[in-house]
Assembly symmetry: D2
């Protein structure tokens, strides 16, 4: 039997949410998706998540929300991180922080899927080693299931490809997020792990990685700390469909999606 996962990249602001609410159900039905995972770190106007927006994401058909460096931007999400097990933050923050970085979820058909959220360190924060964190967490998840998706939220292509090879054969897929631009290097690695350096963001495509062009340009031109505003036009859903063999957990197909409507 096969299982189909949809993984949606960073949802950026209202435009990103609109792409989801309007069209996710269609994509899910067309691809016969069993479980939807989406990175929501930019869903609240580009900066983090709130309780109502998280509900909106679940309501439109997302089963599990992952995140990244922006998860801490809105303070009100912090208590929710502890009580909502369908919301993940990168696992390799220091121990003792609110929330969790892995979870096991069940499809409607009763199949268990492990999800692991990690954050990179190159050009980013001083977190615990994502490679060693993965060793531990993947071992744990494999007690429950051999179907495991890793959202690796990272900047550098080298760090992302390295983690893909590192986990090849141990997880079903390693999918990158954070750069907001979809890469064209989808591949099934030798050990059966589906890999994509970045799935890209879901939000306005007529924009600088989801933000209004004028402010973004002004920021580069002036080097002043101009506040970025989320762009509204031309929403696009960026995602990847992973076909996985239920027994082995191996990825048998990986297909990128960039859907404009």
């Amino acid at each position: 039997m096969i299982l189909k996962l949809l993984f949606v990249g960073d949802i950026v602001g209202r435009a990103g949410r609109k792409a989801l609410t309007d069209h996710l159900k269609g994509v899910v039905s067309h691809h016969q998706i069993d479980l939807v995972i989406a990175n929501g770190e930019n869903a609240a106007a580009g900066y983090g998540l709130t309780g109502p927006i998280l509900k909106e994401l679940f309501a439109c058909g997302i089963d599990v929300v992952t995140s990244g460096n922006h998860i801490w931007d809105k303070k009100e999400i912090i208590p929710i991180l502890d009580r909502e097990h369908r919301l993940l933050r990168p696992a390799n923050y220091p121990p003792g922080l609110p929330g969790r970085g892995t979870g096991v979820y069940e499809t409607a058909g009763g199949i268990r899927v492990g999800v692991c959220n990690l954050e990179g360190r190159v050009f980013m924060k001083g977190l615990d080693c994502p490679f060693r964190a993965a060793d531990l967490l993947i071992d744990e998840l494999r007690q429950a299931t051999s179907i495991i998706l890793v959202d690796f939220h990272a900047e550098a292509t080298s760090e992302k490809q390295a983690l893909g090879y590192y986990l090849d054969g141990r997880v079903s897929a390693v999918i990158g997020t954070h750069t907001h631009v979809q890469t064209a290097d989808e591949v099934i690695l030798a050990g059966g792990t589906g890999f994509l350096t970045d799935v890209g963001m879901s939000g306005s495509q007529d924009a600088v990685i989801g933000n209004e062009k004028d402010a973004a340009l002004e920021r580069f031109l002036s080097q002043m700390p101009i506040r970025l505003e989320v762009a509204k036009n031309d929403p696009q859903l960026s995602a990847v469909v992973l076909t996985i063999d239920e027994d082995s957990g191996r990825c048998t197909q990986i297909e990128r999606i960039q859907a404009r409507f």
Copy 2:
């Protein structure tokens, strides 16, 4: 009349050169390419360029070689930067350095094409502003021709997309290099500029951005300054074909290529 440019991403070591020598002529003939531009910053075992390797690149059919941060790695290339006008380095290094960052080249059919090489600053070096440098250099190139390709060698997706919008309508194309992973966001912007965040590298695909997996992984795992070695297997040519209207300089088609052989 239309013109077709082929722009090839960072050529990484022997594997990258082999992909070129074996297959560039076929690609050029199949796509009826008028001029071939390629980024050669990693052609010499991953680090810079030498005279003989530069000759090898020209011999296999490349007309213009651009580069990036690695151009200074092999000292022997420095005198060549001054005398070989078909070799460019990023224009926004300080004034007075060897070499040049722009050139105007002629196709076999006598059409002039301007090429401009710039380097980004986000997560990179303290260079002059690539946006303001572009203003000046594009104005100069437009005296000679309205067909202009910009190789923007940069890390951050935001900086690259920002330059694309900034130059939209002033150049035929802004194509990113440096991350070694091809992105899937090719687009013709409103003003007629073809844009792609990164064209990806030409070299071994069974590798961490062109380098051997074992050393790359060891580097991430140990945080020791392990020397990276260029990988050899599974060479791939990554490029983009730009169709350009000769009169207006506008891009009318942009097509990504990832060719394995």
Copy 3:
């Protein structure tokens, strides 16, 4: 004849302002200071400057206020940057921005003193080259006076020492700011330029570079974007007294001050 300049490091919040209002006049009188220059980039609760706070700084005896990366934090200072010539921001931001980076000021005795404010690039923003900016600006200032003080607001010790040597013999002093910790390497270089890597901040010393310890520690421990709060206790004035030969502009004495009260 000699001239004595007092240069006060980054004034951090209310504690920093209090150290100044209470004690600057005493220091000025004790050292027979002719002109007081102070870096005010953190005067408004750690983040930038406001109009009233700028007035407060002038009122307590500061003649010229320099700044740094934090100057843009409070939007209300931006129009003031244009009209208040006693307020400087780093000169090597892009052209066209509000404000200026140099000024010539007169002591009560009618001696002209040039001040130049620059910002470093290592571990900081993508600004114009501070070395080349200095070449130009120092040449201009030297039309008016040979007594010139440079506030180099930078992180890396290497970049700061390099600028000191670079300007040796062309300015009276190069004094670093930004790290908030006074260094003990004051020296008069071979060409007569007084140099100090960092003058240190004026503010609470029972603190992490002027900020409350608990929040600062929590930030390092959690890697969450905890908001820093300016600390209140144990204010200290950090400054440097420069004795300068009026005719030659050479520094003849450099003395560090760390005054607690």
Copy 4:
């Protein structure tokens, strides 16, 4: 009874070694030092350490050698890291690497002194958290002795001051290294821990943090990867003398030294 420790900052090249061989014995005798600890990460021409140079350091009177990010530069030191217990490298590298980050050493009078070497993360590598590493390691060392010195090899003043407060009352001293410039903020914190943001380097003072001025300047001016060369002139020993109460482990006096000869 009291104990006196001398901690010497980064020894840079031949000039640094010469300052030590010529004058360390005099300093030790003058201050009645019981144990000498020195950071040797730049002792071999600015880049790492070799076996013979390590011997030279021990021969001139150093009892324990700490290090930092440059420790891996010379491959030949790697086996020595495992067998020479008087040589430390930062403890918060990943587990399994050669060498160790702590040790307990005995003075001639039979008093045990713990030394702990850590490396910062701000503007540096992706290492394990130095704060949490310290928690663990200090607990261990305190089984053996209450006299503990921490060499915190870090760039950012904020991270260094934060670790000082974090360990206050648990160790005898936290002394910073790596910036190569001595700071003037020596203090005994409330809990009895001696603290100094950076002890400064031992090497040529007529130099850019120990390196020849011309190459260092050329590097900043050109942004090319110019090789730095260790400077030779005007050697200086930079160190700190810590007076410690044997029973409590509290620091009772902290005195900076910058000795030219």
